[in-house]
Symmetry: C2
Subunit: 203 residues, 2 copies
Amino acid sequence: MLLYDGGRAPNPRRVRIFLAEKNVVVPIEPVDMSTLQHRSEAITALNPFQRLPVLQLDDGTILTESVAICRYFEELYPDPPLMGTDAADQARVEMWNRRMELQFLNFVASAFRHTHPAMKEWEVPQVPEFGEANRPKALKMMEYMDQELATRAFLAGDRFSIADITAMMGMDMLKPARIERPDHLENLMRWYKAVASRPSASA
Amino acid sequence: MLLYDGGRAPNPRRVRIFLAEKNVVVPIEPVDMSTLQHRSEAITALNPFQRLPVLQLDDGTILTESVAICRYFEELYPDPPLMGTDAADQARVEMWNRRMELQFLNFVASAFRHTHPAMKEWEVPQVPEFGEANRPKALKMMEYMDQELATRAFLAGDRFSIADITAMMGMDMLKPARIERPDHLENLMRWYKAVASRPSASA
């Protein structure tokens, strides 16, 4: 198989961190998103949505969408579990991963993409008013995460999961999104320091 | 267990259709979203995000997020599979469900929520310019769905899946979102007619 990777962007990073946590090594084809190589003919042929990462299996099957790619590896390499164990735990992890994706990372990314001049070619059309509206929503979610993290080590429970990876992507994007890092939220910052210092975080 | 249901809104419907396809009957507590009962103290205590549906398990565990609730039932009642079978099939279904949710239903819903006067209390602040920007994106995705459906019966393959449920919610919302139904997309309309006429669609 071959993983078409996109470098520093949040979605490619999510998959690389997931693989590092599982100690799984996959052949990687780097694609330079900074020069818009994800819009090349070669990548468009693999993924008409021109997004990365893309995983090509040995039989030619193309998988896109970071969480779907993670699901594939979770099924092949269940240990350590990053998407839950029994039915209730799997659902709990999925709930938290979706909250972090749809109501945190998505808010931070929307603020970034709709307001930052460097994103003009990436988000068409940019709607700055919409970008602005996402900033207080991201902050509100961080306050909720802080409350929840008062009682446990990780977002979905006592075990590190894909929800922590997704949330870390949101935290890492606060600065380019010009959202102030809420250093007063002690539980959140303790969690962020812990996840960001795992070896996988530099993958 | 008890499912706090929200009537006609897309997310409550997704879970009811999923359960109907599995022939699983769950006790239901109706919540009237038209009178904003999902913002009541009782629902807020269950789900601080004031969204429905909410599933309460017998041990008190609260599950929110429609797809996470579906995941729980998929694990408990794997037959018929609505979220894939082996690793590659599960990933394929998840890829399609995410495409349909993030790049179709979400576009249609954003057009609706950010432009429709009735949604003023639901989407705060409404940004009409952002809503408008979602309409051509939804149409472009329907053209892609139409191409894909030329070669198979359902979005993720030859078997009905959660991706079809999510996509049907987007199609059903075209009218309130004031997006013209693309009757010229024959494969898409054949698929829509087929999924909308399944007994589960009226759940």
